[in-house]
């Protein structure tokens, strides 16, 4: 078994939490497969619908146990605040899409730039206004893509 250097391993929690979560995921997936409809022999076409997912879930679980023994999870530094905040922007974007898809994009992109240290107004205008508008026009006019209606897009679509 490999020797683990405590300086580079993640927290004790992470080392066990990651495989534990994978095993829970496999157990949940396996449990869900038990609810899949079973086909009569003449219709099952070789394997039952649940067979293959069960096989793969079992394989993942087996490999995870092997990983715990031979190749445990190693992490470097802690996740920084900027990282967490960047991840946090994604659900904010999801919520804002309820108001308007492109408004959400503009706000999230601007917030991302600000979060990462950008303070120049014209750069923020570029990221938050010019690029989303250009992308919208490109997809709307050239690719004929209809975006979900919202406050801003409805102004365009009429």
């Amino acid at each position: 078994m490999r020797t683990i250097n405590k300086d580079v391993t993640g927290t004790h929690l992470e080392r066990w939490l990651v495989p534990a979560l994978i095993l829970i995921f496999c157990a949940a997936a396996y449990f869900l497969t038990t609810d899949f409809e079973r086909m009569p022999p003449i219709l099952k076409r070789g394997i039952q619908p649940s067979d293959f997912p069960q096989l793969i879930a079992g394989l993942i679980a087996g490999l995870t146990i092997l990983m715990m023994l031979r190749d445990p999870v190693i992490t470097g530094n802690r996740i920084s605040r900027v990282n967490w905040a960047t991840i946090g922007l994604l659900p904010v974007f999801a919520i804002l899409t309820a108001i308007d898809f492109f408004l959400a994009l503009a706000v999230t992109a601007t917030a991302l730039a600000v979060l990462w240290g950008e303070r120049r107004g014209r750069i923020l205008l570029l990221v938050g206004v010019a690029v989303p508008v250009a992308v919208f026009l490109l997809f709307d006019q050239l690719f004929r893509i209809r975006f979900p209606r919202g406050i801003l897009t409805s102004l365009w679509y009429g």
Partner: protein
């Protein structure tokens, strides 16, 4: 032969040429930007191809693949940061050479080596892909099943990461592929009653998520890195003496890269590592490696670019991606209603040869782009990350939405992005996940068909010679290295 010339004639279409030139320039920009690579670029730009003709769409994706792979060398040499992982070994000698005031010579060597490697591999692609397809034409489901298993087993060695974690990620991708209606029995699986999930999880949003959005999250932890760019007067073509020193290395690396590319799942990164190591092993002056050896640049660049053509061989002939970017191109083929596999060379031979010729054209084009435009393209490294990545976010989200005009795809991309970030943090490569997702459906389908064919006696699988051959290759891919290490350790102990 008719398809061979038909493919060449397709290149006379000015619209296609315009697309190829634009995609090549775009690919060079993508490859030169640290953090963006050919795979991410192809995934992000895939939605832009939806309204194009299939030939143009796939040609654009392959153009991005070839040119971005080459362009990684620009940043590798000038700022000691590989634009793509395939150029990591180019840094080792390219940057020291640039520090000595020979950046132009280093870039010139990289451009020429890349072009020779790329052109060589496209010639192999033109010859090998139809032959491989012909050989595979009579494959029955058991052979295809074993071949797909072999392809997935090769994920273990991807990117030099942990084999076990790579396999877990690949298996996770295969499991994701089971979401939706089972094509063989029409039973809904893991849909939780959502009709939107009946068609399964889309390849494109997952690709955009794991390659694009997860990279944004990774970049958030690299904001303090400052790149120092070495100034370059002009790019210099290699001298006669340089050619004399590197021609063998270029040819060797072209062979290595093409072969590595042909192996399922292995791409330019592995090819460049092996190409570089072999260049050092065969060199008369190995002590110069790491200090600006031109053979090091040539070995790495010829290998990584030749892997692009090699990777397209199994992608087109068997429907099994030869590299992560080839996986995105495979998705592009499927999105455009094409069926990669042996029938491509009988039913769509003109299409296949159009792609080959497009790749040839792009490889020659980036010789010109590299020689005359490297100084300009080097400037893209000055784009601040605070501008670049918010723009990547906008393209990622809009791209995920655009293909099916579905918000579910946007959520899938975001979730895949977050999952990809944590996977990478804990040492799981996201590439196996993407390839597993692509091959999962095929794997299950072939398994089911094999079971029908073999009367549900799975143990008869190895009784078929080709199936046994692929299963043995699988065993070699999975256990070859640990068994080799075990034997080597025993021999060392025994003295």
């Amino acid at each position: 032969m008719e398809a061979f010339f038909a493919g060449l004639i397709a290149l006379t279409d000015p619209v296609l040429l315009l697309f190829l030139v634009t995609a090549t320039l775009g690919g060079v920009v993508i490859g030169a930007l640290p953090g963006l690579n050919a795979t991410t670029g192809a995934a992000l730009l895939l939605p832009f191809t939806i309204t194009m003709e299939p030939v143009a769409a796939v040609a654009v994706l392959t153009a991005i693949y070839c040119s971005a792979t080459f362009a990684g060398a620009i940043t590798a040499i000038l700022i000691n940061t590989p634009g793509t992982s395939a150029s990591a070994t180019t840094c080792l000698d390219g940057y020291p050479l640039a520090q000595r005031g020979e950046a132009g010579r280093a870039l010139g060597l990289a451009v020429v080596s890349s072009t020779i490697g790329g052109v060589g591999s496209v010639i192999v692609l033109m010859l090998a892909a139809p032959l491989l397809a012909r050989a595979a034409y009579n494959f029955a489901p058991p052979e295809y099943f074993a071949l797909t298993v072999f392809g997935l087993s090769m994920l273990a060695t991807i990117g030099g990461g942990s084999p076990i974690k790579n396999l877990i990620a690949g298996a996770f991708g295969v499991l994701l592929a089971t979401v939706g209606i089972d094509l063989m029995t029409s039973v809904e699986r893991f849909t939780f009653g959502w009709s939107e999930l009946s068609d399964g999880i889309g390849f494109v949003p997952v690709m955009i998520g794991v390659f694009g959005i997860s990279e944004i999250l990774v970049q958030a932890s690299k904001l303090d890195i400052v790149h120092e760019r070495i100034r370059m007067k002009a790019i210099a073509l290699p001298s006669r003496e340089d050619y004399r020193r590197v021609w063998k290395t270029i040819l060797r690396s072209t062979g290595i890269g093409t072969f590595i590319g042909i192996l399922p799942a292995e791409g330019a990164t592995v090819a460049s590592m092996i190409g570089y190591n072999e260049a050092r092993r065969w060199s008369k002056t190995p002590e110069e490696f790491g200090k600006g050896a031109i053979e090091g640049i040539a070995g790495s660049e010829a290998a990584n670019n030749s892997a692009t053509g090699g990777a397209m061989v199994p992608t087109l002939a068997l429907g099994i991606p030869g590299s992560p970017t080839a996986a995105v191109i495979l998705v592009g083929l499927v999105v455009h209603g094409l069926r990669p596999g042996p029938t491509m060379f009988t039913e769509q031979a003109n299409f296949a040869f159009s792609i080959f010729w497009s790749m040839m054209f792009v490889n020659l084009l980036f010789l010109a782009v590299g020689l005359f435009g490297a100084r300009i393209f080097a400037r893209v490294t000055l784009v601040p990350v605070r501008v670049l990545w918010p723009c990547v976010f906008i393209f990622s989200v809009v791209g995920a939405y655009a293909l099916d005009q579905s918000m579910l795809d946007v959520w899938v991309a975001l979730i895949a992005g977050i999952a990809g970030f944590f996977m990478r943090r804990y040492g799981f490569s996201v590439v196996p996940l993407a390839i597993g997702l692509i091959l999962g459906g095929m794997l299950e389908q072939r398994l089911g068909q094999s079971m029908v064919m073999l009367d549900e006696k799975w143990w008869l699988l190895p009784t078929r010679p080709l199936t046994l051959f692929f299963l043995l290759l699988t065993a070699l891919a999975l256990f070859g290295r640990p068994v080799g290490q075990f034997i080597a350790a025993r021999m060392t102990r025994q003295g």
